[in-house]
C-alpha cells in the first residue's frame, strides 16, 4: 500500500488506512534509532530542503535527524538566513529552491495554507511542518503513535485537549486523526480561545476542566502564548492557571492510567505544573523520541516506497 498523495499537507485528506500505514511503518523505523549505528541507506542520493519560515527548533531538529538517519542530503533554509532576503516572495523562494531540484521540501510557515500554495508551484513532495493555525500533521501522527504505544489502540479512548484551541495548529490535525481512528475528543479552554463552530468537527466542547478530565484516557495540553494575556484573550496567566492549569489534583479526575501529553515547549506553571510534566504519567519525552521515527516513516512513504517494510528493497530493518 502507498500514500495517495505525493505531499503531506495535512491529516484532513488522509484515510484511516493511510494513517495506520504511517504508524505501522514508523514502528519498523523506531528500531533503527535503538541501534548502535542509527542509519540506513533508504534515502541515499535524495535531497531534502528544510524550509523554516518561522523558527521551530524542535520540529526542525526532529526532521533533520529523521533525514540523516535515512541518509538523505539535507539543506536548511530559515527565515533569518541571508538566502531569504526580506521582501522576497514565497513564490520566488520556492522557485529558487525548486531550481536545486530537491525531492522533498519540509515547510514550516506562520501562515495557514502556505504549504498548499507551495505545492501548486513545486514538483517536490511538500511536507507540512506546521502552517499558521491550520495543521501540523507529523505532530498529530507522533501523538497518535505515542498514544498507540501506551494504550495499544486508539479507538474508544477519551482524549481531552486543553488550552488555546483557537491558535493551535496541532489541534486540528489531532482532531482529524483521532476522530478518523475512532477516539472521542473533548476540547477545553476559555471561550475566548475556542474557534467558532469547532464542535462540527465531531468533538465535544467544554469550559470546565473537571468535565474534560472526567474519565479521560489521554490528556493533551496545548501551549499558551504569554503575549495573549492582556489582549482580551484571558485576563492573566494566574487566572488561566487557576482555571485550566494541569495540576496533580486535576490529573486525579482522569482515568488512573491516563497519559499526559504536550507538543512542547512547555510553560511550567502556566499550562502545566512541573510535578505533572515530569511525573510518571507524562509521555512528553516519548513524544519527542517518537517524532523521529514518524518523520522517517513519512519521508520513506512519500519517497514512493511501499509501506510493507519486508518487501522494500532497502528495508528499514527487523
Amino acid at each position: 500500500m502507498r500514500l495517495k498523495s505525493r505531499h503531506l499537507l495535512g491529516i484532513e485528506s488522509l484515510t484511516p488506512e493511510e494513517i495506520v500505514l504511517i504508524l505501522d511503518t514508523a514502528e519498523s523505523f523506531a528500531e533503527i534509532s535503538r541501534r548502535e549505528i542509527k542509519k540506513v541507506p533508504t534515502l541515499r542520493g535524495r535531497t531534502v530542503v528544510n524550509l523554516f519560515m518561522e523558527p521551530s527548533t524542535r520540529t526542525r531538529t526532529s526532521f533533520e535527524l529523521a533525514e540523516k538517519r535515512l541518509s538523505a542530503d539535507s539543506l536548511n533554509f530559515s527565515a533569518s538566513s541571508s538566502s531569504l532576503v526580506k521582501g522576497e516572495t514565497l513564490i520566488d523562494t520556492a522557485r529558487n529552491i525548486e531550481a536545486m531540484a530537491p525531492d522533498f521540501i519540509v515547510m514550516r510557515h506562520q501562515m495557514s495554507g502556505a504549504p498548499h500554495f507551495l505545492a501548486r508551484y513545486c514538483r517536490s513532495s511538500i511536507i507540512n511542518a506546521g502552517d499558521g493555525s491550520h495543521e501540523h500533521p507529523t505532530q498529530a501522527l507522533l501523538d497518535a503513535y505515542t498514544i498507540r504505544q501506551k494504550k495499544k489502540a486508539i479507538a474508544g479512548l477519551k482524549v481531552a485537549i486543553i488550552g488555546d484551541i483557537l491558535h493551535s495548529r496541532v489541534v486540528r490535525s489531532n482532531i482529524f486523526l483521532l476522530r478518523k481512528l475512532g477516539a472521542e475528543v473533548i476540547l477545553a479552554g476559555p471561550p475566548t480561545l475556542m474557534p467558532l463552530e469547532v464542535a462540527r468537527l465531531g468533538v465535544k466542547v467544554t469550559h470546565s476542566m473537571a468535565e474534560a478530565l472526567d474519565g479521560a484516557d489521554v490528556i493533551m495540553m496545548l501551549r499558551i502564548q504569554m503575549e495573549r494575556q492582556g489582549k482580551g484573550y484571558f485576563p492573566s496567566v494566574r487566572e488561566y492557571y487557576n482555571l485550566f492549569g494541569l495540576t496533580e489534583e486535576r490529573v486525579a479526575l482522569a482515568k488512573r492510567d491516563a497519559i499526559i501529553m504536550h507538543p512542547g515547549p512547555i510553560n511550567r506553571g502556566v499550562e502545566i505544573e512541573s510535578k505533572v510534566a515530569d511525573g510518571a504519567y507524562s509521555v512528553i519525552l516519548d513524544q519527542v523520541t517518537n517524532g523521529v521515527a514518524v518523520r522517517m516513516a513519512v519521508l520513506y512513504l512519500l519517497a514512493g516506497e511501499t509501506g510493507d517494510a519486508d518487501s522494500a528493497e532497502e528495508r528499514p530493518g527487523h
Binding site: E12, T89, L90, I91, H109, M111, S112, G113, A114, H116, F117, D131, G132, S133, H134, E135, R169, R172, P195, L196, E197, V198, R200, L201
Partner: protein
C-alpha cells in the same frame, strides 16, 4: 448618426415597459420607442429578435486604480472592461493615489474619462481627507466638480461622530454617503468569514457582526440626521434584515450586493485560492440566500461588482498576505443572468431594474431609462447564449477572478453609450 434597434424585447422597468418594440437613437438620445419603426429612419439597423433591449447598465461600485496604480487598471482599460461587460456607466471609488479628496483629482478622472473611456464615469469623492477618517474632505467642492457621492470605501469610518457629520453635511448637496460597513476592531485583521470554514482552515476570521454592528450604527445615524445612506456590498443575512426594517420605517437607506456574494460562499476558500479573498468576505449559504431574497423583494436596490483589480503577482502569495478584492465588470451581468434569471429567482424586469434604474436611483443619476429624450445608453443581452468565463480575454488589466472556467447562461451582447456602439458581439 441614427441607429435603429429592431424587434428586441424592450424592458424599461422605470416606465413599466416590457414588450417587443423598436428603439430609434438619434444624436445620442432616444428619439422613439415604438412598434415597427421603418428601417429608412436610420443609417444602421440591428435586428435584435430574441434579445433583450434594456436601459444601459450601471455599476456604481468599481475601483479604476487611476491615478496611482495604472499597472492594475486605468480609466481606459476599466472603461473597456465595463463596455465589454454590458455597462454604460460606472461610478469609481476614491481610494486612488492620490486619493480623490480634492477637485484636482476629480477633474483629472473626468478628463481622462472624457478622452479615453468608452463608458460614462462618475467619480465618488472621499468622505474624509486622505481616507484617514479624521476630517471631512471638501465635499462641496467635489460635488461642484462632478462627484456623485462620497465614500471612504475600503477604509471603514471608525468614528461614529465623523459619519454623523458626513451624513448631515452631505444633505446640503442631496448626495448619498456610501458606507463600507466593517467595525475595525471586530474585523480584527480577519481574512475570511469567521465560522466553521475559518475554523477548519485555520485562517483568521472577521465575523458577520463586524458588518452588522456598523450597519446598524449608520442606519440609526441616517435616521437621526435625515441623510442619505447607501450601504455598499452588503453580505450578511442580518444586514439585509436591518435594511429591510429601516426602509419600512422610512429611513433614507439604499443597499447594493455583489455577484460574488450572491453566488459563492466561504466554502470556496477551501484550497486557499487568493481569488476568494475579498471584503466583505464570502459568507455562509444562509447569508447568500438572504442576499438573494433581498434582491428579490426589493430590499437591495442595485447589483454592483466592487470591481477591484490586482496584479497577478500580488495575488500569487500566501492567503494572509494577498490583497482583498476581485475583478467583476466582465462577469457581473452574466453571473446575474445565470444565478438570478436562469434559476427563475427573479423576473427579467426586476433583474434589469437591479442593473439599471436601481443603481441610477441610488446615485440620483439621470440614467437608467429608455424614455424618449433620455441619453441613448443601452444594453442588449441574451438570456440564452452560453459563455465560459475566460480571464485571458478580459479587457481589464487584471485577471483576479474566482469564476475562471465557469459556464454561465446569459450574456451581454451590445453596449451603446450616448448613441455610440462601444461594444458589440453581435
Amino acid at each position: 448618426m441614427r441607429i435603429l434597434l429592431k424587434n428586441g424585447r424592450v424592458i424599461d422597468p422605470g416606465r413599466g415597459v416590457d414588450e417587443t418594440l423598436d428603439v430609434l437613437i438619434e444624436d445620442g438620445k432616444i428619439s422613439a420607442v415604438a412598434v415597427n419603426i421603418p428601417k429608412s429612419a436610420a443609417e444602421s439597423t440591428y435586428d435584435l429578435a430574441g434579445l433583450i433591449v434594456a436601459p444601459g447598465f450601471i455599476d456604481i461600485h468599481v475601483h479604476l486604480r487611476e491615478p496611482g496604480r495604472e499597472d492594475k487598471e486605468t480609466i481606459e482599460s476599466g472603461g473597456r472592461a465595463a463596455a465589454a461587460g454590458g455597462f454604460t456607466s460606472v461610478a469609481c471609488m476614491a481610494n486612488t493615489s492620490p486619493v480623490n479628496d480634492n477637485q484636482s483629482v476629480t477633474d483629472f478622472i473626468l478628463a481622462q474619462a472624457r478622452e479615453k473611456s468608452p463608458v460614462n464615469v462618475f467619480p465618488i469623492g472621499a468622505l474624509s481627507k486622505g481616507l484617514k477618517g479624521e476630517q471631512l474632505s471638501e465635499i462641496g467642492d467635489l460635488v461642484h466638480r462632478g462627484a456623485v457621492a462620497i465614500s471612504d470605501d475600503g477604509e471603514p469610518v471608525a468614528s461614529g461622530f465623523l459619519m454623523r457629520k458626513a451624513l448631515e453635511y452631505a444633505r446640503m448637496f442631496d448626495i448619498p454617503v456610501i458606507a463600507h460597513e466593517e467595525e475595525p476592531s471586530l474585523a480584527n485583521g480577519g481574512v475570511m468569514n469567521e465560522g466553521f470554514v475559518s475554523t477548519l482552515l485555520g485562517l483568521r476570521g472577521m465575523h458577520a457582526a463586524a458588518e452588522e454592528a456598523m450597519a446598524y450604527r449608520d442606519i440609526r445615524l441616517a435616521e437621526v440626521t435625515g441623510g442619505r445612506l447607501h450601504l455598499a456590498h452588503i453580505s450578511t443575512a442580518a444586514t439585509v434584515e436591518l435594511v429591510r426594517t429601516a426602509k419600512s420605517r422610512g429611513v433614507r437607506v439604499t443597499a447594493e450586493a455583489t455577484p460574488h456574494h450572491f453566488t459563492l460562499t466561504d466554502e470556496s476558500v477551501k484550497g486557499y485560492d487568493t481569488n476568494t479573498k475579498m471584503k466583505p468576505p464570502l459568507r455562509t449559504a444562509a447569508d447568500r440566500d438572504a442576499i438573494l431574497e433581498g434582491l428579490r423583494d426589493g430590499t437591495i436596490d442595485a447589483v454592483a461588482s466592487d470591481h477591484a483589480p490586482h496584479c497577478q503577482d500580488e495575488k500569487d502569495v500566501e492567503y494572509d498576505t494577498a490583497p482583498f478584492g476581485i475583478v467583476g465588470l466582465e462577469t457581473s451581468v452574466a453571473l446575474g443572468l445565470e444565478h438570478l434569471v436562469a434559476t427563475n429567482l427573479l423576473p427579467l424586469k426586476r433583474f434589469v431594474e437591479l442593473y439599471s434604474s436601481g443603481p441610477a436611483r441610488v446615485l440620483g443619476l439621470m440614467k437608467g431609462t429608455l424614455a424618449v429624450g433620455a441619453d441613448a445608453d443601452v444594453t442588449v443581452f441574451s438570456v440564452k447564449k452560453e459563455t465560459t468565463v475566460d480571464p485571458a480575454r478580459f479587457r481589464s488589466r487584471s485577471r483576479n477572478t474566482p469564476f475562471a472556467g465557469m459556464k454561465l447562461r446569459g450574456a451581454p451582447l451590445m453596449t451603446i453609450v450616448g448613441g455610440k456602439v462601444v461594444h458589440g458581439a453581435l
